[in-house]
């Protein structure tokens, strides 16, 4: 159970996922997570987004810590 991580989808990504959050078993790394998400939501592969782990932007592939909160964020459009 504590090996789970939370994925949060924002903006137009929720049109694809039809949900805001998802709890899944930790796949280990960011690239493994992305593979898994694209299998579940094929249209994600056409979407532009950045990833944050526990509120820190991800620059390159990296391990995902236990209980991490992962955010998938399309380009910002505030204001």
């Amino acid at each position: 159970m504590h090996k789970q991580i939370s994925i949060c989808f924002f903006g137009q990504l929720t049109d694809i996922t039809q949900c805001n959050t998802l709890a899944i078993d930790n796949p280990g790394t960011v690239s493994l997570l992305q593979n898994l998400l694209v299998r579940q939501y094929p249209n994600l592969s056409h979407s532009k987004y950045t990833i944050a782990i526990n509120n820190k932007m991800v620059i390159e592939d990296q391990p995902i810590p236990e209980n991490a909160i992962i955010a998938l964020m399309p380009p910002f459009s505030g204001g």
Partner: protein, 147 residues
């Protein structure tokens, strides 16, 4: 995760003109201020093909936005001689003609207040994880894009 010093900037729904007036009036006791600069974002009734925008529904990665806003605030204060700065952004539904963003900078001299306000608005638009869903009059939608 959120730093204790991160102030909330989010207002549920539109920002009322009376809220802006109260904010201005509160600065009357700060008699070292010579100039205030204010930017207000207002929701436009854009026409997109057959559809007209009726409202924007704002969502945010709130904790991340507040952390980032704290960084922006520190950067702005280190860059300009400001007396104070206040930022408010709507969350949830804001109808056309209503105010969704209120940035308010004050300084001894006008030039720092104006430059800081302009800089802050640009940073808010590009760096804060906030999304606007443009709701059409026929209830369809498209996602806002900043330029």
């Amino acid at each position: 995760m959120e730093k204790k010093s991160s102030k909330n900037i989010f207002v549920e729904g539109p920002i009322p003109a009376s809220f802006i007036a109260d904010s201005i009036a509160k600065h009357a006791t700060k008699t070292s201020i010579g100039g205030h600069s204010i930017f207000l974002g207002q929701v436009r009734a854009d026409q997109i093909g057959e559809n007209a925008v009726a409202a924007i529904d704002y969502t945010s990665n709130v904790s991340m936005a507040l952390e980032k806003m704290h960084e922006i605030r520190e950067e702005i204060f280190s860059k300009y001689a400001l007396t104070c700065m206040h930022v408010y952004h709507s969350i949830g539904l804001v109808k056309t003609g209503e105010i969704c963003l209120f940035v308010f900078t004050s300084s001894k001299h006008r030039k720092s207040a104006i430059a800081a306000c302009t800089d802050c608005v640009e940073k808010i638009k590009t760096e804060l994880p906030i999304w606007g869903k443009e709701i059409f009059e026929n209830l369809g939608h498209q996602w806002k894009e900043n330029n």
